[in-house]
Amino acid sequence: MPRTNKQPDNDRIPSSQVSATQAEKAHSSMDRGEQEKKLHDLVQFLLIMDQKKLPIKKLDINKQVLKEHSKALPVMMKLAEEKLRKIFGIELVSLEDKQKGTYILVNTLDTDVDEQLESDPNLTLTPVDWSDENHAKTGLLMVVLSAIFMNGEVMVDSQLYHMLRKLKVDQDVTHPVFGDVKKQLTVEFVRQGYLEYTRQPNTDPPVFEFRWGFRAKKEITKRNCLDFVSQLYEKNPEEWVSQYQVVVEEEGEEEESSAS
């Protein structure tokens, strides 16, 4: 591809505009040792940045890891993606739309040890260790995500708050575990990508809607939510006619994408 674009200042090109060949050139301009080191730094950087579950920005990657080799980002990210997958069983997901230019990490390995433990209680398995705080937040998240899904994949904020109040999780009261509940839902979970919080147009006072965020869609399946709720109600998943249909559709899509 002929280099016809004028690049006034090479350093200030955002890496998203770096073409594939430019990236390869930049990558091969580093010597082998440097390539290896940068790659390892990058993988470690991604793993550490993932601690808070906030999306990782390309800008930060360039600033902290690649620095003068920012142009090589596309190549390096591909290599890092492979390493993460092969060594850690972690998938690197590039986000689109509003979150373009950022990445999240998602697990691909099965963390469900219950079945194995049931078959052999003597096994000493060490599933991934999360803190109690993390457990509690995950519990809340499960409740919220399932509710939103069962409600037709969208829930108006007043509805959600009304339901949570029944669980004595009140947005006006500082909760002993969750603190500022509203902030937890509308800020933290949204930033992490678990929830989407949008405003309904033309409403006054403003009305907001909650939906599943991009991370939720990657990390948890709708079938799991339906099964969870069905178990709660002691009913069969098929009895929830419209929700079951959504689940079947989702699984149809998954089969398509894995077959392709």
Binding site: L47, T111, D132, K137, T138, M142, M163, L167, C225, V241
Partner: protein, 349 residues
């Protein structure tokens, strides 16, 4: 004329499919006074009886009425509509509206009964089921706490397997505490400069007395180096103006750190052109002081050379043995900082 009007009014009330709106027209139309008086009392009684019967039926057969399978409610509505055709007076109108109210309530209940055939998700119901699930048959602690802290944690633990979360990266043995960012002490260079400037000018009080230690150390070095030079010259004279063995000069039999310090100060002498280190026939180093200060000029013309001298504790011990050094030529210095145990012993002797 009145007769014609009557017919028109009835026609109007017949035309309206929905009920209720037209009953007012009886009262509001001005010229109906004669019309009202004309309705047959018997007819009115018939209408009223009809409504009362219908309401009685509704109450008796409520169960049948609200059954989604049954059509009796629709039939009741039809009956009410038929009766309404003849309604002209408010009294009957009121009965009619009461009947319709009852029918519509039944209609709502009928619809509610329809729901049991397919499941509708109700958030409040969901919340209640959650509470009993989490509490697993234990009685609810209090009205204020639906799910306890531990309850949330347990719920979360059970839910973790549904989330394909990448494990958070933590160092196995932990990492060090970052601690408070160390504030750079910028006062030391200031104090040095100030001290030199204020030597002659006693009026200005030197500012930074706090960092006395820092400047003290550098002055101490210079002082030590001078002491060393005097000592070297003295030893040189005692040695009949022959160069002294470097190792015999710097080695301290008891303390490795003192030895290193000796080497350190000696290097200053060499750097400043006040001492000279050379190798003898056996390639062993010798040291001698330079007598002529004029030689400084010569030194400046000479190309600068650098050498790195290193000494490990092992080597130090070996050297002390080989050279059979019992007493140090350079006296032991009293250190202000932590001593090695060796020098402590020295001082205690």
């Amino acid at each position: 004329m009145a007769g014609v009007k009557r017919k028109t009014n009835t026609a109007n009330s017949n035309a309206s499919a929905s009920h209720g709106a037209e009953s007012d027209s009886d009262e509001t139309s001005v010229s109906t006074t004669s019309y009202l008086q004309n309705q047959n009392k018997e007819e009115r009684l018939r209408i009223r009886t009809g409504y009362r019967q219908l309401m009685g039926t509704l109450v008796e057969q409520k169960h049948d009425m609200i059954n989604p399978e049954s059509t009796s409610l629709t039939e009741a509505l039809k009956t009410a509509n038929d009766l309404n055709k003849d309604v002209k007076m408010p009294r009957e109108g009121a009965l009619d509206s009461a009947t319709i109210l009852m029918i519509s309530n039944y209609g709502r209940m009928k619809v509610d009964n329809l729901k049991t055939d397919f499941l509708k998700f109700e958030p409040i119901e969901y919340a209640e089921k959650l509470i009993s699930f989490v509490n697993q048959g234990q009685p609810r602690q209090s009205q204020d706490i639906a799910i306890s802290n531990q309850g949330w944690i347990n719920l979360g633990k059970a839910s973790q397997k549904f989330f394909m979360k990448s494990p958070a990266f933590h160092f196995m043995a932990g990492s060090f505490e970052r601690g408070e960012p160390v504030k750079k002490v910028r006062r030391a260079p200031d104090s040095q400069r100030l001290d030199k400037e204020n030597l002659s000018d006693k009026a200005t009080v030197p500012k930074q007395m706090k960092s006395f230690d820092e400047s003290d150390k550098s002055e101490a070095t210079t002082a030590e180096v001078e002491k060393l030079l005097d000592l070297l010259q003295k030893l040189y004279r005692e040695n009949e103006r022959n160069p002294i063995c470097y190792f015999e000069f710097v080695l301290h039999p008891e303390s490795f750190s003192q030895t290193v310090e000796n080497m350190f100060y000696t290097s200053f002498l060499v750097r400043d052109g006040l001492a000279n280190i050379k190798l003898d026939d056996e390639k062993l180093p010798l040291i001698e002081p330079i007598q002529n200060p004029e030689q400084e000029k010569v030194r400046k013309n000479l190309p600068h050379k650098q050498a790195v001298v290193s000494l490990s504790p092992q080597e130090w011990k070996e050297l002390v043995e080989v050279y059979k050094i019992t007493d140090p030529l350079i006296p032991t210095r009293v250190c202000s900082t932590l001593d090695s145990s060796a020098t402590k012993k020295m001082r205690m002797k």
